[in-house]
Symmetry: C2
Subunit: 268 residues, 2 copies
């Protein structure tokens, strides 16, 4: 299935995604590691931002990483090899039609993928076929509707809304994080356990201001400016005021909040 | 200072506040305990919902609990005595003019109080005078702007907005949780450390659905129905649809999210 993505396909985007990944590694991935010899599928590896962490935390697992974009796969392969890991095999492939036999994997890992898919339940159902009985699936997604900040700023919410709306028009769902529990249940997984991973940033955390608020979140919103303006979703004045409002949350008295959701589920 | 509260003064409200306190004890209070012999001030103890936890977790601390409402103080005293604790002294008093000498306390504890005050920074500044050098203040507040859920529901957000607006008209701020970092810094405290305490509820957590989503949050929103309608803030149809939308999040595929903020800070 071909999907137009709102983000993920430019050089600046690649840098942004790597930045996001390194800032959030502990929060999102600290509790994910797979035993020696286990077969792991990363479905939708993109440019390899999470693959490096996965490979490093489970050095003796045998990882297959796939993405629908062959350019991303090439980039991911080069990133993972540059990091010195040799336990990952890369393949270009469609999540709905992957070149693996049923019940090939002990574990499946899906991070920042469902948000882009018009049919997330069908994608999970397809992945479930590749999972062994008693295997696990781990799914991580953000949720833009979880964004709030101080000082509050109506234009900032308008600018964020543009990103959400553009992602929706591309068939995605930027608010999907909160839905992991029903999605995984609907796809037939069992023992679904969801834990929110909230990012709270104030000026006592300058690394998070740089790595998350500015270089991850605000960069993503700035990235949709031209598209949102072309689509007539917002005026340049309001968009720019909104971005200014987001930067305002990075000052000494500012606060920025965002929540990712991580789910682990099983198969019988 | 007299303050009209939006909630807190009816029997059903008291039950609701006790229910909230028992469901949230671990999440909010697990990391709060004070050494034997230390003097602790609970400013704004209300009906004693948190006082019981405080007294139980720090059985050898000497706690003074104050509230501006003598009816609440009576209720709190009876609750704490019924629970078998004898380490709390109760006083009726105004947070801006408490009957204690400067630097009387090793620790100060303030929970669900600032949200009701028109001048939270001034209140914190007044409390700081009562704190010993190298003492700590702990502040816990909710933030209604942190509320989101699945399925999303515009009428539900409208109903919540009524509560936020009514609290604002009473001089309070229902979105104050995210502001703890700037408020405490502004009041001159040092080493301000804020940790969000997110409540994530799905149908794998029936106790949280009952204790938090229904009996704490939805009960609070339902509690402002008449006042909101009298104020012409919303139509009965939209309000009731909103409450229905909130109950909808309690079904098998529903999800409800809310975040409290806890801050600990020091004094030099």
């Amino acid at each position: 299935m071909k999907t137009r993505y709102v983000h993920g396909y430019t050089t600046r985007e690649n840098l942004r995604l790597q930045d996001q990944a390194s800032t959030l590694v502990e929060l999102l991935h600290a509790d994910t590691f797979y035993p020696a010899g286990s077969r792991v599928l990363e479905a939708g590896c993109g440019v390899g931002a999470q693959t490096v962490t996965l490979a490093g935390k489970s050095p003796d697992a045998k990882i297959d990483a796939v993405d629908i974009s062959s350019a991303s796969v090439t980039e991911a392969k080069s990133t993972v090899e540059a990091a010195g890991f040799s336990n990952v095999h890369f393949h270009q492939g469609d999540i709905f039609n992957l070149p693996f036999r049923p019940e090939s994997f002990d574990h499946i890992f899906v991070c920042f993928v469902l948000e882009h898919l018009p049919q997330p339940i069908e994608a999970l159902t397809a992945l479930k076929k590749l999972l062994k009985v008693e295997g696990t699936i781990t799914v991580i997604e953000g949720d833009h509707g979880s964004t709030y900040f101080y000082p509050d700023n109506a234009a900032a919410h308008e600018a964020i809304r543009c990103q959400v709306e553009l992602q929706k028009r591309s068939g995605g769902n930027a608010d999907i994080g909160r839905q992991l529990f029903p999605l995984l249940n609907e796809a037939g997984f069992i023992s679904v356990n969801v834990s929110p991973r909230m990012v709270y940033v104030d000026s006592s955390k300058p690394d998070m201001i740089a790595g998350f608020t500015k270089n991850t979140f605000i960069a993503m919103i700035e990235g949709v400016r031209e598209t949102a303006l072309e689509a007539g979703m917002i005026t340049p004045a309001v968009f720019d005021e909104g971005v200014k409002g987001l930067y305002r949350t990075c000052e000494t008295d500012g606060v920025f909040c965002y929540t990712f959701f991580k789910a682990v589920a099983g198969k019988t």
